[in-house]
């Protein structure tokens, strides 16, 4: 304890962390409120919203997966050139030259699939718990936009390895865009930077995948979490429980 006290009760430590380490409620509140990374939390949460069955932690899982994807994605960017055929050669390089390159790519790939699933299940949880009811209507809409952004992120990333799977998967998908009346062909041209999935498409998907869409997602997540706080914290299943509903709470 003396070591802990010596470490935490000096000028240097206190200039960074202003509250003490003793387990008082004041310190616990300040730990959350005074920390930029934690301040999206409220100082107190409802006991029931901590239960697994309230949220199944699906929003938290989605956010965690996005963090893992950001970190592994940044590391993959160090080894990747968005050009033909260098992009594919870089995949081989990851496989045979880079230490743990395959592990890095696997991690990114499986986290991406898992995130699509997690965000989808998160939406289902919110729906079946009726957690979108007023005042949370707008946050549901933000959530739908985040689901679409997640799909787009996953889809743009799908092209980057530049193997047969990537090329034809994206060809099939962008051909669906062409079916859109009036704007379809023009939109497809804009997306691909040409009429075929080629070098321009790879560069565009790379920029969308690594810069534009992640920024949009981070912005959206910020709004989403902010609204969760402003609308009274997460809505677990409690609004739905029949024992409570229609009776005196």
């Amino acid at each position: 304890m003396d070591v802990l006290r010596a470490l935490t009760e000096n000028r240097l430590w206190r200039s960074v962390v202003r509250h003490g380490v003793r387990g008082t409620n004041r310190n616990r509140v300040m730990l959350v409120m005074e920390n930029i990374f934690l301040h999206l939390h409220s100082a107190k949460v409802r006991r029931r919203s901590l239960e697994i069955s309230s949220t199944y932690y699906l929003g938290g899982i989605s956010l965690t997966l996005f963090a893992i994807l950001t970190i592994t994605g940044l590391m993959l960017m160090l080894y990747y050139h968005p050009s033909v055929p260098q992009a594919y050669d870089d995949m081989k390089e990851l496989q045979f030259v880079v230490s743990n390159g395959v592990f890095l790519r696997n991690m990114h790939r499986w986290a991406a699939h898992a995130m699509v699933l997690a965000v989808f299940f998160h939406m289902l949880r919110v729906f079946y718990h009726k957690a979108y009811r007023p005042p949370r209507e707008f946050n549901w809409v933000v959530g739908v936009v985040l689901l679409l952004l997640t799909l787009l992120l996953s889809y743009t990333g799908y092209l980057l390895p530049w193997d047969q799977l990537a090329f034809w998967g994206v060809s099939v998908g962008t051909n669906m865009v062409k079916a859109m009346p009036v704007l379809g062909p023009a939109f497809r041209f804009l997306l691909l930077g040409g009429n075929i999935v080629g070098e321009n498409a790879l560069l565009r998907f790379y920029v969308l995948h690594c810069v534009f869409l992640p920024l949009a997602l981070v912005l959206g997540v910020a709004v989403h979490l902010w609204r969760v706080r402003k609308d009274g914290g997460i809505a677990g299943s409690s609004g739905l429980r029949r024992a409570d509903a229609g009776k005196i709470p």
Partner: protein, 232 residues
């Protein structure tokens, strides 16, 4: 009883202990007003740290066991058969097999997205009242009148993958209306709100189409059995 007096007053100082009668469709915030609370630090933060650790460990183990697929370099002149989109779009690709692209690739996904976005702005979704806990005969008749022509259309286009879940879920919905329905089933089913029925139908259709697209479609988008022919 005489020591309690019921008073109708909104002033918290005059009437310190108040009761409120809240209807089921009331905003969720009212129902959650007075609840037991915990400090976010440590109760919530510890759970978050554990969650992050579990996610990282599970993903790391999965990444050690299973390698991400990598095929030969992209070759525009060599079309694989079948050419499949990523798995989350295979439901759409499966629809494309039945309907023209403008319907399957544009109209239906657009309708699905709009439908999902407007959910909280419709009264039917905001109420959590079971389908049979309110006057239901008219609603059931309307639903039947919608389901029938849709089913005919699905038969005409031979979309069995959508027809079967549609009929199955409509039968479950209509089951409590049948006089000989077992009591336990009736109790459970009659409490499900209409919004949940619709969402369950949507999720069932989307999942079945996606699973068929992933596992049961082979060269030329013909039907294949994954245990006999493998997964394409």
């Amino acid at each position: 009883m005489s020591q309690f007096r019921l008073e109708k007053n909104n002033d918290a100082r005059a009437v310190p202990r108040r009761i409120a009668l809240i209807r089921r469709e009331a905003p969720a915030r009212l129902l959650e007003g007075r609840e037991e609370v915990r400090m976010a630090a440590p109760h919530l933060l510890v759970r978050e740290v554990i969650l992050i650790q579990i996610c990282v460990v599970v993903l790391a183990v999965a990444s050690l066991l299973f390698d991400a697929p990598l095929e030969g370099i992209a070759d525009p002149s060599n079309t694989p058969n079948p050419a499949k989109a990523p798995w989350y779009f295979l439901g759409l690709q499966e629809l494309l097999h039945y309907f023209p692209p403008i319907v399957a690739g544009v109209l239906l996904p657009a309708l699905a997205i709009i439908g999902v976005v407007v959910i909280p702005y419709f009264r039917i979704n905001v109420e959590a009242v079971g389908f049979y806990e309110r006057p239901w005969r008219r609603s059931l008749a309307i639903l039947g009148a919608v389901t029938a022509p849709v089913s005919v259309l699905l038969v005409a286009y031979r979309v069995w993958a959508v027809l079967v879940p549609t009929l199955l879920i409509f039968s479950l919905l209509a089951l409590p209306a049948v006089p000989r329905c077992p009591g336990a089933w009736r109790r459970r089913l009659s409490r499900v709100p209409l919004s949940d029925w619709i969402m369950t139908w949507f999720v069932a259709v989307a999942s079945i189409l996606t699973l068929i697209g992933i596992f049961f479609r082979g060269p030329g988008w013909t039907w294949t059995w994954p245990w006999r022919d493998g997964i394409f």
